[in-house]
Symmetry: C2
Subunit: 280 residues, 2 copies
């Protein structure tokens, strides 16, 4: 029996029995593996790190999509940076948005996801509201004339090629291309293991946006405690949203979810002390 052994953090590993390797190759940017595990289903592994699995992708993708979209309440234009597996795009398209622009740097990730992970992207790339740009997300944010209500940064980890998506220049570009009242959310790693990365992003948010925060989700394959999502908004009011308004919006859109709901939307911002203390 072969195992995929993830050693993202020192001295520990999360391992997955490999029933079958469906794809293995090197794109212009990274090593890409699609494997099958009896507990998590098909898994996409980039440079040795698990990015998404059929069985638990709903948690991360729902929390990254629905929290800012329901908080905003009237998002029409959405920008996704990264997210080549299409799972986040699929969640965003459950909302009555006009247009979703997705900027993914690696075309192989998109093609391989469409071929091997159809249960994750579910035809999202064929939706007429999808505007797919194969290119560099940093450059796109720096140069585009388009404007967005919500920006979601579905990146790989703050170390390696994705690092540029965690710096102040990039966040500044995001602010520039947000409409008034816009919201930026970011993948911000596992604070128990990578606490400094969250603090760094938070300080950039604080310097640039009216509201800076983080929220959390417990994703089985992002091991070692909560994962953090960064939150930066041009309006300070969204987090004070009352439960009744939130539930009305959810009922109106009627999106089917398996993790996200009104209670965990509000609960995700209620941080344990060690995470709260990183926001300083």
């Amino acid at each position: 029996v072969t195992w995929h052994r993830e050693t993202l953090f020192p001295h520990v590993a999360a391992s997955y029995e490999v029933d079958r390797v469906l794809y293995q190759g090197r794109s212009g940017f990274q090593d890409i593996v699609i494997l099958e595990n009896a507990t998590f289903g098909r898994m996409m592994v980039l440079d040795g790190v698990t990015q998404t699995t059929e069985r638990d992708e709903f948690i991360y993708h729902e929390m990254m999509a629905h929290v800012p979209l329901f908080a905003h309440g009237a998002a029409s234009r959405v920008l996704i940076i990264g997210g080549g597996d299409g799972g986040l795009l699929e969640e965003v398209l459950k909302h009555p948005v006009e247009r979703v622009t997705q900027v993914e740097i690696d075309p192989d990730v998109i093609e391989i996801s469409k071929r091997f992970l159809p249960s994750i992207c579910r035809g999202a790339y064929d939706d007429p509201r999808t505007d797919l740009v194969v290119g560099d997300g940093f450059k796109y944010a720096a140069e585009t004339e388009n404007r967005f209500d919500v920006i979601m940064v579905d990146s790989t980890d703050p170390a390696g090629p994705g690092e540029i998506l965690f710096g102040r220049p990039f966040y500044g570009h995001c602010r520039r291309i947000l409409n008034p009242g816009g919201i930026l959310v970011t993948q911000n790693g596992v604070p128990f293991m990578q606490g400094r990365e969250l603090t760094t992003s938070y300080r950039h948010f604080k310097a640039l946006f009216a509201d800076a925060a983080a929220y959390v989700a417990a994703v089985p394959t992002y091991s070692w405690g909560f994962m953090a999502l960064g939150w930066a908004a041009l309006s300070p009011d969204y987090r004070a949203l009352d439960r009744a308004t939130l539930e009305r919006r959810i009922a109106k859109v009627g999106a089917t979810t398996r993790y996200y709901n009104g209670e965990c939307h509000l609960g995700a911002f209620m941080l344990p002390r060690y995470v709260r203390e990183l926001l300083a």
Copy 2:
């Protein structure tokens, strides 16, 4: 390099590099290993399953102790079933309780924890308020004439020797020995992997108590998403506690914590959909 490889759930494993094995032996009840890992510090492993580590024990122990004690607000007598490492006892003793009875079946776990994990139990066994009973928790709950305001079941997993602590007879005994308004909390596993166990406990709680629920915490070494703690109370009001009252109680007791705070106390009951749906 040797690794401790935990295979509690099929087809996946969490692994820890072993720098040193400080103790390895078999008690009358289980295999006990104390090992040292550079990321998690000293770890106690029972029958191959990680029970507690120096680095992350605070999360589980704080959430099991402080949530029911601050919700209750006036607990004087507390019963801990299991919890031989002493970490839960230490958290409970931060409250102005009169007496804490701890019933642990395996005396070796207590002695080995005192010797090798002093940072976890921190002298809790020497506190004059501690009443240590070495014995069977099920039998104790069935027979004792004592009464308690809060009972905490800090057991191993719902499979194996701890299984009897997840059945209706045991929960019935707990109800019998609770004072009016008493609260029972239980270790209830990882619902992403062991969903049925949570449903089973919840149904027993519902049949026996005025209030039945669950709350969650993200514990790095209890892998694969949230862990669930079961909640059964003889008063239905505790979960409706307002934030201001809770914060006043926390300030008055002044316990030092690293995970628990007023916001995550309330947020822990705000469950994601897949956990909420298991409570049915």
